[in-house]
Symmetry: C2
Subunit: 142 residues, 2 copies
DNA sequence: GTATATGCAAAGCATTTGCATTAAA
DNA sequence: TTTAATGCAAATGCTTTGCATATAC
């Protein structure tokens, strides 16, 4: 597993300070940042980076397959750099907190032929929804 | 299984022409309409119905548990009146076409205790992503 | 030097909201 | 009669886009 930035350079990615900072902010295995959050963290290193550039860069990383978009619960999309190891997500329906999970039984999931309706299946996404410990305790929010 | 409108009346739902029309448009088992689409169909029966009312009504049906919101792929949410029978969805990543499916193995899915992170699990959503037959044939879109 | 990324501001789309009016119960 | 729903238009939140400028290669 080579480094993200190195992989990108190999793929002919034009490396600007903005792009490097976005890629750096997205390093790690349990990262699920919104575009705004990426922007905020990126600005700490590069104050003049614009939100539009963050969006452009994120979209590019997604289409390069280096980052996954996570749509779960309300609010903005989140961006997950961990595309190497298959995993699924657990989201709090109350506060939208998001976590990686490895469910059991997921490898035995499938669509029987008569349920495929002629589709070519690409992947399966699982979303576990629940209430996080913090929200379970908190009497105010819910 | 009583009728949706009857159930709603029993629950003290104030029955207006607008609400009745929205509920009628959402009858059926393989219905996945966007709010715009519901509005369009509703207007055929009741030309003066507003989009805001359609949104209000849909949200209410969702919080009453009579309709499920489906977020899959790009574009607007879709509304699924089939809450009686558990099912999952298959979406075309190219054209967003959406279908109900009953996967095998879904009943054996679960999060082992050490993967629950203190969450109380409410439900599991599965999304099968693929390419629909129409898009598989069509050389232009993709 | 040339192609491409950036920043800005404006536009876009889906959805929600405030408020005066209307209508269901 | 009272309480709640409607319609409108404006506001919101997230994301994309057009275009002139700047910059990586």
């Amino acid at each position: 597993m080579t480094d993200l930035l190195e992989r990108l350079r190999e793929r002919g990615w034009r490396l600007t300070p903005q792009r490097r900072v976005v890629a750096e902010v997205l390093r790690g295995d349990h990262v699920h940042l919104s575009a705004e959050a990426v922007h905020g963290l990126a600005q700490q290193r590069l104050p003049e980076i614009s939100l539009a550039t963050v969006y452009n860069t994120l979209n590019e990383l997604v289409s390069l397959g280096e980052v996954a978009e996570v749509t779960a619960g309300d609010g903005p999309k989140r961006y997950d750099p961990n595309v190497a190891e298959t995993h699924q997500h657990l989201v709090c329906v109350r506060c939208n907190h998001l976590l990686d999970v490895r469910p059991e039984g997921a490898q035995n999931l499938g669509l029987p032929p008569e349920e495929r309706h002629g589709y070519q299946i690409l992947d399966i996404r699982l979303l576990f929804r629940g209430i996080c410990p913090k929200c379970l305790e908190d009497p105010t929010s819910g």
